[in-house]
Each structure stands twice: as C-alpha cells, then as structure tokens.
C-alpha cells in the first residue's frame, strides 16, 4: 500500500459521504434546492442574462404586450419587464439575505451571551425580547423607516433592529440546554475561557436550528421587503424591485395584467423553494 492511497482514502470517503447525503435528499428538498439555485444564478448573472437595461425607457413602445422582443412586454415607461424582473432578484435577495443575516448574528450573539452567562444580562435580554415580540413588526418597520429614511440601507437596518428577537429567543433556549452538557463542563475544566467555550463548543450545537429559522425568515423578509416597496416606503422607484413592480402594474390590471402578476409569482415560487428546503432539513433532522 503506497502512502498516496492512505492520503487519498479519507478524501474519497468524504466525497462519497457528501454524494450519499445528496442522494438522501427527498424529492421535495431537491426541487427546493433547484429553485433557490436558479434564483441565485439569476441574481448573480442578471447583467449577462437580461436582454435590456432595466432602467432604459422607451416611451414610444410603452405597455407593449409580450412578444419575442419583450418576453413579458414593457411597462408604463417602455422598460422591458423581463429584464426588470431579473435585476429585481438582486435587490430583493441581497436585502432579504443581508437584513436577516444581521438579525441572525445580532440575535445569536445576544441569545448566546444571555443563555451562557444568565444573571443580569439574561434578564435584560429576555425582557426586551418579550417586549418586542408583542409589537407588530410592520408598523414598527414603518416607524423605523420614517426616522431612517427610505432606501436599501434603511431597510436592512430596520430589519436588523426588529428581526433579531426570534433568533435571540431560539439561541437562548438552545444554549440553556447545551450549557448543562458534560462536554461543556469538560471544556471549562480543561481551562478554556468563556469566549472559547461559547464559540467552539456551544455555538456549533445551536447553528442548525438557527439556520432553519433563517430560511423561513428569508421568505418572510422577501414578502415584507416587497410589501414595503409596493407601499412606496422601502426601495424607491425606478429601482427594479418586485413589490415596486406590482405597484407599477396595478393601474393596468385590466389590460396588462402580467405586469403585476409576474413579480408576485416570482416571489411565491421562491417562497415555495425556500419552504421545501427548510421542510427537508427539519424532516431529515427528525429522522
């Protein structure tokens, strides 16, 4: 047996294990992953895929019906709807992912610290969590956007300020269980500092649950971002955004219904994709 084989062995095995785990995916999960991957590809390569500039107006050709030149027709300013849909995925996905990611990081950190140290920190964090859970998020978001001003950075900040609560609650409850485990006690007895124990021994045990919550949170965030755009208080026109596009098309429902129908369907399909993935992950963990 050569040394090369010894080195290659584990790597091959690892790769096989990875393939096996994909094979174990349910059909629902595979469809979900396929859908979400399509969206990510479109978002990344939008400038290459889109046939037109999403902002270029062509007034003589406004409100055109779908044709080979314009697959989904043109809007009230003659902009190509299909190109706008593709570009919108960049804004919606980026905002939803970054806004919820900030919530995730902030919530996980506060939940981790509160659950690990207990005491005063825990009391303060838990009380704030209980409080914020009683406020309906939507008017709070509007109030935040009111003081921060509309636009992408404000939307992300507003999401982080309101969204960390559910992550903190989840992280805290998981940490309360994990910190009592023997391996945590062993790590502490081994002389590791609190920060290291939290990062290396507690955090890895609560990430899976946090990520499942994140997947469903992204669905909600996209819906909310689109709603804010639709209401004219989030992303501002002429930026292509799905909610803004639904609003743009609303005056032409009887003649050009696809203007409002298409962006909504895009959101719904993405929502289904993400739901299938998180269902698949939860189901697999239960098994």
């Amino acid at each position: 047996m050569s040394t090369a084989e010894v080195v290659v062995g584990p790597a091959l095995e690892e790769r096989a294990a990875r393939v096996r785990s994909v094979r174990e995916w349910s059909w629902a999960m595979r469809i979900g992953v396929a859908i979400v991957s399509c969206y990510l590809i479109v978002a990344v390569f939008a400038p290459l895929i889109a046939p037109y500039d999403p902002l270029r107006q062509n007034i003589p050709n406004l409100l055109a019906s779908p044709s080979w030149g314009h697959v989904l027709g043109t809007d009230r300013l003659g902009r190509d709807v299909f190109s706008r849909l593709l570009y919108a995925s960049r804004y919606d996905l980026l905002l939803a992912v970054s806004g919820t990611l900030l919530s995730l990081l902030l919530g996980a950190f506060l939940g981790l610290v509160a659950g690990y140290f207990r005491g005063v920190v825990d009391i303060v964090v838990s009380r704030i969590v209980d409080l914020l859970l009683t406020i309906p998020i939507y008017p709070l978001l509007v109030l935040l956007l009111f003081t921060l001003g509309s636009g992408a950075a404000s939307v992300i900040t507003a999401f982080a300020v309101t969204g960390w609560v559910s992550y903190a609650r989840l992280a805290r409850s998981q940490v309360l269980v994990t910190r009592e485990q023997d391996f945590v006690a062993a790590a502490k007895l081994g002389g590791l500092g609190n920060a290291r124990v939290m990062a290396k021994h507690v955090l890895p045990n609560i990430t899976a649950q946090l990520l499942v919550l994140w997947a469903s949170d992204i669905v909600m965030a996209i819906g909310t971002i689109a709603a804010l755009g639709y209401l004219g208080i989030g992303i501002q026109p002429p930026t292509p955004e799905w909610g803004v596009m639904v609003q743009d098309g609303q005056d032409f429902l009887l003649t050009n219904w696809w203007l409002s129908v298409a962006p909504g369907l895009i959101i719904v399909v993405l929502g289904i994709g993400l739901a299938l993935i998180s269902d698949g992950v939860v189901g697999r963990r239960r098994r």
Partner: protein
C-alpha cells in the same frame, strides 16, 4: 381563582406597556436619523431643525424627554397630526374601527376555513385529500398578502365585478361585501399557517380515551367532532392565534392600502408620506396596545376552554 389569574395577567400587561414605551423611546434615541429632518425632508436648514427640535423638546435631557413623552401618553395625548391638524389620537380612533372590523372578519374566515380543512384532513388521514390539505402551507407561507390582495382585486372586483374594487360601501351588507376580498387575502395566509397545527392536534385528540368512550357510546360524525374533538384540539391552535395575531394585524394594515380601506394601515402610509411623526408613532403604539389586549382576550378564552388554566 380565575379572576385572580386574569388580574395578574392585566398587571403584567401594564408592565409590558410601560416597558414598551421605554424600548420604543430608547430605540429612537439610539438610531441615526432625526424626527425633525424626517418631517421636513432633506432640504431643511439647520435653523429649522433646531427650532423643531426645540418645539418637540428634543434638545432637552433624555430623562426630561422621556418623562414628557410618558406623561402625555398617559393622558392619551399622542401629539398633533400635522396632516389633519387635529390630535393624532382622534384621527387614529376614527380609523380604528375599520381595521378592527377587517381583522375580526379575517379571524372569522380563517377560523371557518381552518376548522373545515383540518377536520377533513384529520378524518381522511393519509388519503389524497389529506396530502393535498397538508401541502397548503408550503405554497401558502410564501404568499405576500399585498399581492394576494391585488390578485383578488383583479379577478373578483375588476374582471368579474362581484365585489367593490376599493373603499367601504355604506351599511352592514356594504361593509361585509367591501371587506370580503381583503379579509380573504389575510385568511389565505393565516389558514396556511394554522391548518397543520390544528390537524395534528385533532389527530391526537381523535386517538384519545375520551373520544374512544364517546365513540363506543355511539356518538359519531359531526356531533363527535363538534362536541368531543374540536374543543380539546382547538387549545394549542388558539395559543398559536395569539402568537400570530401581531402578524395578522400587520397584514391587515398592508391589505388596507391595497383596497383603499380607510383604516389604520392607510393612515400609517399617508402619515409616512406626509412626514407626520405623531401619526406614525401613535399607530405603532396603538397597534401594540391592541396586540396586548388580544393576548389577554386569548388568555380568557383559554381559561374558559381549559378550566385547569389559572388554577395552578
């Protein structure tokens, strides 16, 4: 015993409300941005901002500001709405009934559809119809309410003209028909959230001893479901309703704008565009109070459905 339980819950609610004022107040102190600048838009001179800050008392120490805010709030003073030139409280209370009616309508529709779907699914367990009903949440959770609202408006109000296309018609029948589509938009979303939970608790109760006893006495069909199964299976779902009610209210506020219903949601958006700080802040506060009241109501309902609650 039950009264003491409710008294304690009320006490907790008062403390929560107080905490809420602190958190909302501090949150806005901590954030960049400025109410005065927001009220006048970007092209405001420093002198104007200073003047408004002084008028709003924003140049005073933090504690003075909070005390001012809290004492006015306690007197029911939410400030003056600059768009309507009236106390914000009056404007908000004028719009409140529309939102309450919409939310109540949506809850009733959701309850009916959820109970019917969950019961059918549980009784026909693992048959095709059960699988169909169980797949509802996958499609439903991603549905944005504003878009469902727009689609319902398009199909049933504009295309087939079965319902009014916006606003509220006079009279009770006018109200019922004007609010049917917006309430449906909300009910679709919340049925999707609740149906799985009710189905699984129905299945649990169907397997329990007391249902077996009832069955052995010859109770079956609708009577069995209504008398013996639903009351017990409903308890976890009612808790869930309490948890999602904040979301339902938020959805109602959004759907109002789609259907141009003159409620808090439309007021909130108008206030936003008109830079009306008192209105936007007041509506946030009133919604939070509404959520607290509903949660207390749910606790009452809970203690009626399950007499063990409150005894412990």
């Amino acid at each position: 015993m039950r009264w003491r339980f409710l008294g304690r819950r009320l006490g907790q609610a008062v403390i929560t409300l107080w905490g809420l004022t602190v958190v909302v107040f501090l949150m806005f102190q901590a954030l960049p941005g400025n109410a005065a600048a927001a009220m006048f838009g970007a092209r405001t001179s420093q002198a104007d901002i200073k003047r408004v800050n002084h008028e709003l008392g924003l140049d005073k120490p933090l504690w003075t500001q909070y005390w001012h805010y809290l004492t006015h709030l306690l007197r029911g003073d939410l400030g003056t709405s600059i768009t309507y030139n009236r106390p914000a409280r009056e404007v908000i209370f004028d719009a409140l009934p529309t939102t309450v009616e919409l939310a109540a309508y949506a809850v009733v529709l959701t309850a009916i559809v959820t109970v019917v779907l969950a019961t059918v699914a549980a009784m026909q367990r693992d048959k095709p119809i059960d699988h169909l009903i169980r797949s509802v949440p996958v499609a439903g959770l991603g549905l944005p309410t504003f878009w469902i609202g727009t689609m319902l408006l398009f199909v049933f109000a504009l295309k087939f003209q079965l319902f009014p296309a916006g606003g509220v018609q006079p009279g009770f029948t006018g109200l019922i028909s004007s609010m049917f589509l917006p309430a449906c938009a909300l009910a679709i979303l919340f049925t999707a959230i609740l149906v799985r939970s009710l189905r699984s608790s129905l299945l649990e109760v169907l397997d329990s001893d007391h249902v077996l006893t009832a069955r052995s006495k010859g109770v079956h069909g609708v009577r069995l479901v209504l008398r013996h199964v639903l009351p017990n299976a409903a308890i976890p779902t009612i808790t869930l309703v309490g948890l999602i009610f904040a979301g339902l209210l938020g959805g109602a506020l959004i759907v109002e704008s789609v259907f141009a219903l003159p409620g808090l949601g439309s007021l909130l958006i108008n206030g936003f565009h008109a830079h009306d700080f008192a209105l936007v802040q007041g509506i946030t506060m009133i919604s939070a109070v509404g959520i607290l009241l509903v949660n207390i109501l749910i606790d009452v309902l809970y203690s009626i459905l399950d007499p063990r609650v409150g005894l412990s």
